[in-house]
Amino acid sequence: MAEQLPPEILARSDLLKLGAAAGLGFAALPLVQPSAPRSRVARMPIPLALAPLPGVLDLYINEGYLKMVDDTLVYHRGFGSRPTDIDDPTPSLRLDPTVITVAGDVVPGRSYPLGAPLPPRGTPTPLRADSANPGQYVIHRNYWASYFPQRTIVAELGSTVRLRVQNRLGKPHTLTVHGAGADGGDLTTGSIAPDSVALLEFDCPKPGTYIFTDPTNAPVERVLGLFGVLVVMDPECQWDIAKDRASFERQWVWICHTVEPRWASMEAAGQTVDPLQTRAVPRYFTLNGRSGFESLGVTFDDGINLATEEETLISGYPRQLDVRQFGEGTELGTLRGGQLVRLVNAGIVLHQMHFHGNHIWTVRRNNVDWPRREGFVGDDGHVVLQQWEDVVELEPMDRKDIIIPIKRPPDAIDPVWFARTTDWVYPMHCHAEPSQTAAGGMYPGGLVAHWTLKGPVPGAAP
């Protein structure tokens, strides 16, 4: 049954009637009468911002240039939070993180759960020292909020997701949420003509991590930047992957991507890339939109460094845990568990995410829980069983949920461990090593991060 939304007055005085859009439905409504396909430069005037609607998240398909880690500007398209044009010095090409609540509110913000304390510089501080395990700490359960990176929508289970998408570019585009349908299929706006708006409305899928992209001419539009991530949380279990699944201290979303400047410049020039004809040669590799020293938070830009620490650079205090049960600790309000990392590969190369310092525990792939018993090897040659790994294979469009224990590095000798006074920092990088470069070199300038095992808290009783 189609839902009738109220008429909307646009600033440019075009009357837009938003049409049927319930469930899998969509509406692609031209703001102006479509004429013959026009080139990007000839399209005038540019449509202006949509007037906000309660309970609706607006996304703008914009274009512009983004600075790579070596200061090269590369043409991008993206689902932005505000309308911007190609010559905008700060184009909106990455959706600002947003939370959609079960009550129907669309809340701009980088953290979830709403109202939970924000971890200082991204690091959840512990409850207290663990007197039973010197050098370790007792961890808060169900306490700290998590920061989310750009391009992330957090939706609460039970909510209705309403995405209104304005295509501000000269070619048709689409927004498709992969695997979020009731039957596990895709949800899509269908093709959105230039200067048109579509509404995609759907019931929030089960808890998990979903990728939305523009699948037009796949994977070209995705490589150009038209992608994002939908994280679904159960509001009754805000620190669990899902009900009765692993609990975590805080969570991180890591979105991997690859940038192909040749494709970008061809599309910027009005051509359409044939991905079979023009083989992709990625030149930049990003994690949450950053590479190299920016992704490691060691720039002279305090804003970048802080955002990176809050969103990407895992950190926590050492704790005792048991992989057989990520749940209640030895006393109420404490957690015997680690931190959740949602690995998302929105790019086109196969990544091999390698963690130094701690093996990680992989719990699910593409929202399907891996069993703890009666595992098996799938027809594709992959083991389906919860397991320790130090390298996590991440195919394009794959999502894996892993728990990083944040425990004492097991092979450090006792004297070094007990004399520790500082943070211990361990790299995470992709081991498909060409991804460690930027512009053909500058190692480590690619898809890198690190995680920090925080040092002893001064004055805390061990």
Partner: protein, 512 residues
């Protein structure tokens, strides 16, 4: 057979000489720059040391909490090291760690006093239970700063990694096993006849060979490896081993080594049925400087961690266990293979190519030659300039008197691989039982608190004819060929974007 003609080789030799001269010049320039940076770094370190000293003094002047391990927990000059570095054979966390240094730490190992019923499953012990330090007292060193510096640009970050001439190994122990590795660079002929400039690590046994020497270390025992870089700084990262950052071998979280450094670690001992402990399994080590290039050039080697022997899991003569409570396997036929491939263009590059911001094309890895390195572990040929290549495997037939064959694999490659076991007709044979991944056994972890048995002991062995894996992953598998005869191990290399097969190698497996 060589893909290069003799003429080509002599021209190459001349070019090489020119390159070497150029490299020497570059090296001298680099060293001058490095010396300057080192001076600056030393100044920073001195300032940092001073700051820490003041902090420590301030901390000491405060009354310390009684529960602190305190003077006894901190390694001190009075700590009496235990002479025996024996692996703890006890499944129970023992509080017997030798010196008073760790006595108070270990004494608290049974951390379950306040556990609730639901959580009592877990928390078995502190990680110190099996560590038996044999400490030689040294003053507490001041670590180099890690990630405390900021950089103006990616080029600065790439080209200004902290190089240290001779970093100090903190709290050096008496090792149960120690090796010395030199860097070497040689033109080597691989098994398809192609010749490439290769860089790798060498010791006296495996001189100028490739891959680097095979290392076997036992859980619970302190291990030392001293690296002596040349032609620029290098490090050794012990991939999958998890020591402190100084011993992790990564430049930007610790230091790159100019002169020499002794890496020190103690592989964690396993405990039967406990999925939280144990390092036994297959690993590799590699240089972590300009990593895409240095690893492709060959700066890696295999590392095997053998388990402690537990009294409940005795070992038959001629056999070993893959992990503490793991299955026994036949030492005689134990083998390792490592998929590796070569992009010849990369083998014409220099140590620091790309680090100064120039486009070295290191984002483009286009291999033309595909290899399976390795062989039977008991029979790796020693000597000079040997390339360890896999030509044939032996496997013990399932159900026979001998223990099964253990096949270890290290993916020393940047592309994804598919491994397939077939019979002579090319039909897939599910003869591989996967038992470990990345140095950790596959276990049934479904019951909190209950022993986590290996998959095979839980009744569902992970048997397969096919394994998909990629860069730097390791698997251990038992082979169970159903009948005597010839089988095949096929390895396909896939493009990292399209998944198209770009290379294949097939190795016979003779089952008896």
């Amino acid at each position: 057979m060589s893909i290069f003609s003799r003429d080509r080789r002599s021209i190459r030799a001349i070019e090489r000489a020119q390159e070497r001269a150029q490299r020497r010049r570059q090296e001298e320039e680099r060293r001058r720059a490095a010396a300057e940076r080192k001076r600056q770094a030393d100044a920073r370190r001195r300032a940092e040391a001073e700051r820490r000293r003041v902090e420590r003094q301030r901390a000491r002047s405060k009354p310390s909490a009684s529960a602190k391990p305190g003077a006894s927990a901190k390694p001190s000059a009075t700590a009496k090291p235990s002479a025996s570095a024996k692996p703890s054979a006890s499944a129970k966390p023992s509080a017997s760690s030798s010196a008073s240094a760790s006595a108070s730490a270990s004494a608290t190992a049974s951390a379950t006093a306040t556990a609730t019923a639901s959580a009592s499953a877990s928390a078995s012990a502190s990680p110190s239970a099996t560590a038996e330090p044999t400490e030689q007292p040294v003053p507490a060193p001041v670590p180099e700063p890690t990630l405390h510096h900021r950089f103006q640009s990616q080029v600065d970050f790439s080209s200004e990694q902290l190089e240290v001439e001779n970093p100090v190994t903190e709290f050096p122990q008496v090792p149960a096993f120690a090796v010395d590795f030199e860097f070497h660079s040689r033109d080597l002929v691989l098994d398809d006849g192609a010749e490439f400039e290769m860089w790798s690590f060498e010791d006296e046994q495996y001189e100028r060979g490739f891959p680097g020497p095979t290392l076997r270390v036992q859980e619970g025992k302190v291990f030392h490896a001293t690296v002596h870089p040349s032609k620029g700084p290098h490090t050794i990262h012990w991939h999958g081993m998890e020591p402190d950052p100084r011993n992790d071998g990564v430049g930007h979280t610790s230091f790159e080594v100019d002169g020499q450094y002794t890496y020190q670690m103690q592989p964690e001992a396993g405990r039967p049925g406990d999925p939280n402990y144990g390092a036994a399994g297959t690993y590799f080590y590699h240089c972590h400087v300009n990593t895409p290039l240095h690893v492709q050039m060959g700066m890696f080697g295999p590392l095997v961690i053998d388990p402690v022997v537990h009294p409940d899991y005795p070992v038959t003569p001629g056999a070993r266990r893959a992990f503490v409570d793991g299955p026994e396997y036949d030492i005689d036929t134990e083998a390792l293979f490592a998929p590796y491939c070569v992009d010849p263009r990369w083998h014409e590059m220099n140590h620091a190519d790309g680090l100064s911001g120039e486009d070295a094309g290191l984002n483009r890895f286009e291999p033309r030659h595909f290899y399976l390195l390795g062989g039977e572990l008991a029979r790796r040929p020693a000597g000079r300039e040997r390339v360890w290549s896999l030509s044939v495997l032996r496997a013990n037939v399932a159900g026979g008197a001998r223990k099964p064959t253990l096949l270890r694999t290290v993916n020393a490659n940047y592309l994804p691989n598919i491994v397939t076991f077939t019979d002579a007709a090319g039909v897939e044979v599910p003869m591989a039982e996967l038992i470990s991944h990345d140095g950790r056994p596959f276990r049934d972890t479904s019951v909190p608190g209950a022993p986590a048995l290996s998959c095979r002991d839980s009744g569902y062995p992970l048997t397969t004819s096919r394994l998909a894996y990629g860069a730097a992953e390791r698997y251990d598998m038992l082979l169970h060929p159903p009948a005597p005869g010839r089988y095949f191990l096929r390895v396909d290399w896939e493009d990292w974007i399209t998944g198209a097969v770009v290379g294949t190698r097939i190795i016979p497996i003779d089952a008896t």
